[in-house]
């Protein structure tokens, strides 16, 4: 028994990987759905968008890449649907060079589903290098930061950019943020200076870091990771269906996480049981 427990504690980690693979595959093949509540931070984000007057314009900074796509794309899709449904116009840009090939096709797809026109209802200004400097520049002067959109049209000729000079011309900024540069930099560089309303959707790892910003009122809403995206989907599509081409990805995925998390907890539990049963009694804890 002692040997078995020792071998269990020192097992080849590939067995652990195999178990994790099963824990993800099984709920994908045999889905089990559980009800979940909506966090106050996600509700606040939803309410911030709901409070926008019809016809206003928001700024979206789509700062994610293929690695963070599973966590953030569901929020991004739901948010675009939410905004277009309310006839809110979108000015989008990104600080991550690998974001445009993801963000632009998704926005085109959802805009088309709502009959929205590029240049009139939404525009993609493109990728801006420079990280914090780019954010400061967005705060100060958007047409100078992006003299043309991603297609080369001067911003002065784009209808949706009429009257937009600085970040504070937007009633709401939404940052879909996978890391650096992202929400922290927006809050530290321009939120306080221009008294901006910023909402953030971030990866689960960054969520705890941004909670202080939400508590301090520097963020009007926060959606963290897959659970946050699932809660936002629940609010946005409570009484309607997603647009064509979009599924409730996060809602499906968050139920897959159930078994994954349970598996890790059971591993830890059994590991500790084995540890206590095999620990030499005379060794003192440090």
């Amino acid at each position: 028994m002692y040997d078995l427990l020792q071998r269990f504690q020192n097992m080849d980690r590939r067995w652990i990987f195999a178990g994790m693979a099963l824990a993800i595959l099984i709920p994908l093949l045999f889905p089990v759905e559980f009800e979940f509540a909506v966090d106050e931070r996600v509700s606040s984000l939803y309410d911030a968008v709901e409070a926008l007057p019809t016809g206003s314009t928001v700024f979206i900074s789509a700062d994610f890449d293929p690695a963070s796509r599973p966590e953030l794309e569901p929020f991004f899709r739901a948010n675009l649907d939410h905004l277009f449904r309310k006839d809110i116009k979108i000015v989008m840009a990104t600080l991550w060079e690998f974001a445009p090939p993801i963000a632009v096709p998704i926005t085109e797809e959802i805009a088309a589903a709502h009959g929205k026109e590029y240049g009139v209802d939404w525009v993609f200004l493109g990728y801006k290098p420079g990280k914090e400097l780019a954010i400061k520049s967005i705060g100060e002067n958007i047409p100078k930061t992006f003299p043309t959109d991603s297609r080369g049209t001067p911003v002065g000729e784009i209808a949706v950019m009429n009257g937009i000079k600085q970040a504070k011309d937007f009633p709401l900024l939404i940052n879909v943020s996978a890391g650096f540069p992202g929400t922290r930099e927006y809050v530290l560089q321009i939120q306080g200076q221009y008294d901006l309303k910023i909402a953030s959707a971030c990866t689960a790892v960054s969520g705890p870091d941004y909670i202080p910003f939400y508590k301090a009122g520097q963020l009007v809403g926060l959606s963290a990771g897959m659970p946050g995206s699932a809660q936002y989907e629940k609010l946005v599509w409570a009484e309607s269906e997603p647009p064509k081409g979009t599924r409730k990805l996060a809602t499906q995925a968050v139920n897959v996480l159930n078994l994954g998390h349970a598996y890790v907890i059971l591993l830890i539990l059994f590991g500790n049981i084995a540890y206590f049963l095999t620990r030499p009694k005379e060794v003192s804890d440090d």
């Binding site: 016809g55 690695a67 006839d87 026109e117 100078k144 890391g179 306080g192």
Partner: protein
Amino acid sequence: MRHLLILMLLVAVPALARGDAWTPEQMKAATTMLQVSEEGGKALRLDGDAVYFGDDALPPGLADAARELIRKRDAGVPVELPRRLNPHPGATPKVVVAAPVSSDFGLTVTAPPENDGLNLKLAWTAPTPEPLAWAVLRGPSADGPWTVVTADLPGPTLDFSDKVTTDVEDERPRDSYWYRVVALRALPPEQVEGEDWAATLLAMGAANPAVEGRPIAVWFKTSPGSLMLLALILGVGAMMLLFTRQARQGKEMSIRRIPGIDAIEEGIGRATEMGKPVLYVPGIDELQDIQTIASMLILGQVSKTVAEYQTDIIVSCCIPIVREVADEVVKAGFYQAGHPDAYRPHNTRFISSEQFAFCAGTNGIIHREKPATNLYLGRFFAESLILAETGFVNKSIQIAGTAEATQLPFFIAACDYTLIGEELFAVSAYLSGDPRLVSSLKASDYVKVFCIAAIVVGTVTVTLGSSFVQTLFTIAGG
């Protein structure tokens, strides 16, 4: 007949409201609106919400026609306007007959406090009735010429912040600027190149007499928060110099040992015994990040120790310029240790500036070169756990240090030692053993005590209702 009435309304109203003859710009605006109304005989709508008429300026027939228009609109006559004149599809239109807007807005132009000299704040009072929109004009003198700063501030707006120039190289800021705000009674048409748009806007609404504003460029922030921050920084600097002087005079500075830092030299010794290299990863952020700078300082000490122990060091870099600096630092370390021949330039490698490509490349180094000791010191993101787990499989001793709070849990789970937050910034002082550097740690410790005291006092005072301490530590925006 209806079209004729509408045409009369469109043509007559602005002129009657102003009491002047029609200008070409007014004719153009009216023609645009007329074209809209001629599309299938649909009713007129401006801004999706309201149409303003100067009621007491209308002749009786036109006033009746305006009210007839209102009645038809209220009866649900459908409207279709080109998008640029109808930004609120689906909004319920209303038609309001109102008196002309007066031009006494009480405009004030002031310079914000502690400003860079490029901003002016405008404020005015609400006229009756509220206009459709506001335009802001700026000029170098009371007589113009006028530049249109913005022409679509919503009707309820009563203030505006203007940045007088966004490129000081192209246009230096002046000592003063003159402003007029225009209460627009109709949506302005699209600007035509070469057109005097300011004149068009002035013709479409009521504007105040020009008001002067002087931007004030402040040379030094004197808000309590800024002064407190400066005092803290100068305090750290002054204490550093004081303790450095004491260290030079022979005073002993004792600091608590940190196991992770002690383990660095042990790890280098282990690498020498095993005949394997040391792997050093300075994080994946740019050179200007303070954690990367701290990592370069540590690398200097580590490479000197590695050279003294006569083993190899491989530095895996994500940013090209970090690689260049790391190369110089490692070379200097080997020279300082008296082993210039042992320096291998190809051991300081740029892998990739893409996060996971860098991670895969570094994992490859770990698998192939099998370093005995891995040092992860700098700013890391999602690749931290992948690197640390790969190092664990390789049975390396792993010491990590980062101030990136999101990655600390991963390093703590996977590495043998983890330096948390400020411990990373203390490593170079510890490793060098130089009393001057050690004394700088004491300086930051004293400031930390001050910060703790400030937190406690601040919490108590805020709980008791005083905001003095809060104000002292609030740094105002620009």
